[in-house]
Symmetry: C2
Subunit: 451 residues, 2 copies
């Protein structure tokens, strides 16, 4: 059987391989699929890396949802350690780092994102790592167990990866400092909730230094990092984790003439086809996504979107019609046993968008107050002052804080006022909730503040 | 100060006292509030009774959210051990069991529900208890610790209370049998999920006997129950828990001329005023609620609705406008550490309504598969065959199963197709979920079955 059509996929992680496998499943032998992956693994969980390096997960293989071998068994021609160095849209060819020129009928771009490396003196010292790929995780673990066993770590940046990696470092026995320019780590939360995260981190023994800028990295004679020079003095660092966010790896696509947005992410239609190009698709960390609340394009590099967008692209490649429905800004993580979740707009987000909001913060119990094991939980909720629509929520607490954010996400997905949210039919039983669910207690507080 | 108006509240639990305290807070001295409660406690958590009798909760006082004393401090005239025996709507008076005749300007009826007692031989033997009030819980505990220490219990009926009380009995060291007419306990779930509940109960040592009818209760010479005669033979029983459901305690209201529905529950408008009567209000287990999915009146006796409806009535009593928004059939409980949750229509519910549906059942992990502590979870989802609207979900599993039902409840509250549910922005991180949330995995399976 000769395939009538060839799909080339650039990038072998969530978005690329979701597209590849969805399209291959639907088109079978009629579609020849070649997937280029610059690293050593396909379809892996980047979100699992901090837990792996912390020691929670036995082997790198556990993070691989589907190996290159398994993809090949499904008829997908995976080429590892192979990068696309040039795309020629006119003739339909990709030039690879292996010197090969591969023709395509359809092209899927899923090159992901890369950690931002600030242009500071000493940034190229050995031991300064971003954490984005399994290769990065391996390098980190190699350092931990290497000849020069590190004793101290500095994490630069207090977003999700920074917070997770700081916990991983301290659990690995390193003296760990997290430095952040902001007034608090986890700045996607408003300050009063971020303060709880900082407290939890300090409770684990992490030295959290906020409103601190980094100026320089110092190396020893061998070229290995030994300290970080900051506003708050010189911090010893046998290893440095860069957690300043990521930017889309869109250069090759941009050079080919594909449109990018202000973040550098590729611009696609809702079907994940690149603006103005038939048969050219993109998804995952390399694209911008439509923000349903802000009504504008944003760069939200998360595995959950990569999987969904990749699947949508795969359906499109196979000739089926599907549309990605946009993002809300839902995210979750934990520090020790403190669950941290958010969705929609924070008060600060709303201010930045010029939306007038009213917010309320409540503290309540995770179970009925009398039920054994009940602990406290803080919910902040934000609503539009004019329409009373709920616009965002942040939850910090133990046991069940994380999953409750999805109640809020669904109430954002289909516009819902705080007044209506108070009256929705949520599940209640003493082991799981107070009789008014914490989300509804928060909605009531916002409604009262609006009145 | 002489109050210009008097509110009489009949029933001092969630619905009645929510109404009383909401109205009193808004109207202050202008409203004289008299609340009649036939039992010994006000504002208590009936849902907590099984956990109290199981030994999880220290004292009956822990279940009381606000005592009669606290209500009196707020200016509400609570009269305990006082029943309303007659209501005269024309003259605006309530006749009490204490022989008093109290005039009212507005009346709040919150008389709750009572356990169904089947008309079987021996039903009046000592030790056959329904579990509805704190008094019932006290009687049960008195039996446990009484002179004639019981060794065996039979729970008749396998709904939420039956399942929870069976667990309480077995944890109290009683040889416990649960008998149910249905093919499984927890018949608000479809059979394949109900079977998991039965397995978990048997795993705790509960003898679960399904498709078994009860014919007679046998008593010893002292009049105390000693056995239950069933299709499955004679079961020894030093104590019997009746868990066959409840019916609205609406008799006095009905005799006064107020309208009831087919369940015997009072019919109200969305503002919780009794149909056709200005200033006469009702809420909680004594009323029928509007089912948003079935588009008909149903009797759903749950504390969560009682609180919300009571508050709505209280706002109405104070002259503010508010409307209860109806119910979905959301409910949750647990057996041992197995969480059991449902919302909307089961496949059986849909069949009973004549709605053509497609359903799918999936099994997935509660966390990322590689993350420590991940366990399995079963989600069944039902969608309308024609419109593809999600119509209901059932979840059985450990850790995080319960809270996920609220995601489904919110997707029911504002109509959502399974196709859209697949693409909503739910929270993902390895400690909390697989990258496709279990709810979305189920929605995908239903969408595939619909295609």
């Amino acid at each position: 059987v000769t395939a009538s059509e060839r799909l080339v996929v650039i990038g072998g992680d969530a978005a690329g391989m979701s597209a590849a496998s969805t399209a291959k499943k639907l088109r079978g032998d009629a579609l020849d699929v070649v997937a280029l992956e610059r690293g050593d693994w396909t379809s892996y969980s980047a979100c699992g890396i901090p837990y792996w390096v912390a020691g929670d997960i036995g082997s790198v293989h556990d993070l691989v949802a589907r190996s290159a071998h398994e993809h090949r068994d499904m008829g997908i021609g995976v080429r590892l350690r192979t990068e696309a160095v040039e795309i020629d849209l006119d003739s339909g060819h990709v030039q690879t780092s292996a010197g090969e020129r591969i023709g395509f009928d359809q092209l899927m771009i899923a090159t992901g994102a890369e950690p931002i490396r600030p242009d500071l003196p000493g940034i190229d010292a050995e031991g300064i790592l971003g954490i984005q790929t399994l290769g990065d995780g391996e390098r980190f673990l190699a350092q931990l167990t290497g000849r020069r066993k590190p004793r101290s770590a500095v994490v630069v940046g207090g977003g999700y990866i920074g917070v997770e990696m700081a916990e991983a470092c301290v659990r690995r026995g390193l003296r760990t400092t997290l430095v952040d320019m902001a007034v608090q780590p986890m700045r996607s939360l408003d300050p009063e909730l971020g303060a709880q995260v900082a407290d939890a981190m300090r409770g684990m023994g992490i030295d959290v230094r906020t409103q601190v800028g980094v100026h320089e990295f110092l190396a020893d004679d061998s070229g290995a990092v030994r300290a970080v020079v900051t506003d708050s003095g010189e911090l010893p660092a046998d290893v440095v984790v860069l957690a300043l966010g990521v930017r889309p790896r869109s250069e090759v696509a941009r050079q080919a003439g594909l449109r990018v947005g202000i973040s550098g992410g590729l611009r696609t239609s809702a079907d994940m086809s690149c603006d103005g190009h038939v048969g050219i698709w993109a998804a995952g960390d390399v694209v911008e996504s439509w923000d349903r609340l802000r009504q504008k394009w944003v760069h939200v590099p998360l595995g959950t979107h990569a999987n969904k967008q990749g699947r949508i692209a795969g359906l499109g490649i196979a000739g089926e019609r599907a549309r990605f429905q946009g993002v809300l800004g839902t995210a979750v993580t934990k520090v020790c046993d403190l669950e941290i979740a958010r969705t929609g707009l924070s008060e600060a987000d709303a201010a930045a968008e010029g939306i007038e909001v009213v917010a309320a913060t409540i503290e309540t119990t995770t179970r009925a107050g009398y039920y054994p094991g009940a602990t406290t939980m803080t919910v902040k909720m934000v609503a539009d002052r004019r329409t009373r629509r709920m616009l965002g929520a942040q939850i910090v607490g133990r046991e069940g804080a994380a999953h409750r954010i999805d109640t809020c996400a669904m109430a954002l997905w289909n516009p819902t006022t705080v007044d209506e949210l108070v009256l929705t039919d949520l599940a209640y039983a003493p082991p799981f909730s107070s009789v008014w669910d914490p989300v509804q207690v928060a909605a009531r507080a916002v409604a009262a503040a609006l009145d």
